[in-house]
Assembly symmetry: C2
Homo-oligomer: 126 residues x 2
């Protein structure tokens, strides 16, 4: 069992953000101590791992919440979850290909600038 602070340190998400995620339905039914403090389990940590993974590949919180809700409904939503993940995967791959192209353009610009800079500096030396 982990406190919100433990989980914050493990995940890199702030305690504020963890509460916010719970409120938004990204994390379901976190246990509480008799005093009302959150007690996270290993399963919660694992769920957070997937949440971060989806978030960091560009899925928005609403979609993540939808995914989590499907998971709660059990095996009958497996097909839908697979479809959702597959679609997300495709969009991430597309995004990465797009970025690769843009990166090439940045690289070319950089080479052009480096060349200009060399010319400028050697002109200054004279």
């Amino acid at each position: 069992m982990y406190t919100i602070r433990d989980v914050s340190e493990k995940t890199g998400l702030s305690a504020h953000t963890l509460r916010y995620y719970e409120k938004e339905g990204l994390l379901s039914s976190v246990e509480r101590t008799p005093g009302g403090f959150r007690q996270y389990t290993d399963e919660d940590l694992e769920a957070l791992g997937l949440i971060c993974c989806l978030k960091n590949t560009g899925m928005n919180l609403r979609e993540i919440a939808r995914f989590v809700h499907l998971a709660q409904e059990g095996d009958k939503t497996l097909k839908e979850r697979v479809a959702l993940l597959r679609e997300h995967r495709e969009s991430v791959i597309a995004r990465m290909n797009e970025m690769r192209e843009y990166l090439d353009k940045v690289t070319r610009k950089l080479e052009y600038y480096s060349e200009m800079q060399r010319a400028y500096e050697s002109a200054g030396e004279r």
Copy 2:
């Protein structure tokens, strides 16, 4: 010479966004007709190409504006611009590597789910 509408169509940015970018200093001194309408040149289009490229690789508008301002100051800022682009390039590469790892995780999750789904469906057939 292009109208704001032409440029909107060519770049995929809305006319609103083009005006906004200009206001934020991303695009400098767009020419006007006697009546006050914007007239974009080919150089403006090229500058917008670089802006979109930087934006689509995750640079925020403030940094892009800074880059544009440096470019306006001429050759003496070449070194700084090279440094800025180089740093950006590194961060894009890091981002892509990170995404690749997250994508692998999504892929593994997807494979696991697909397997579960197959098992679930074959159980349903019985």
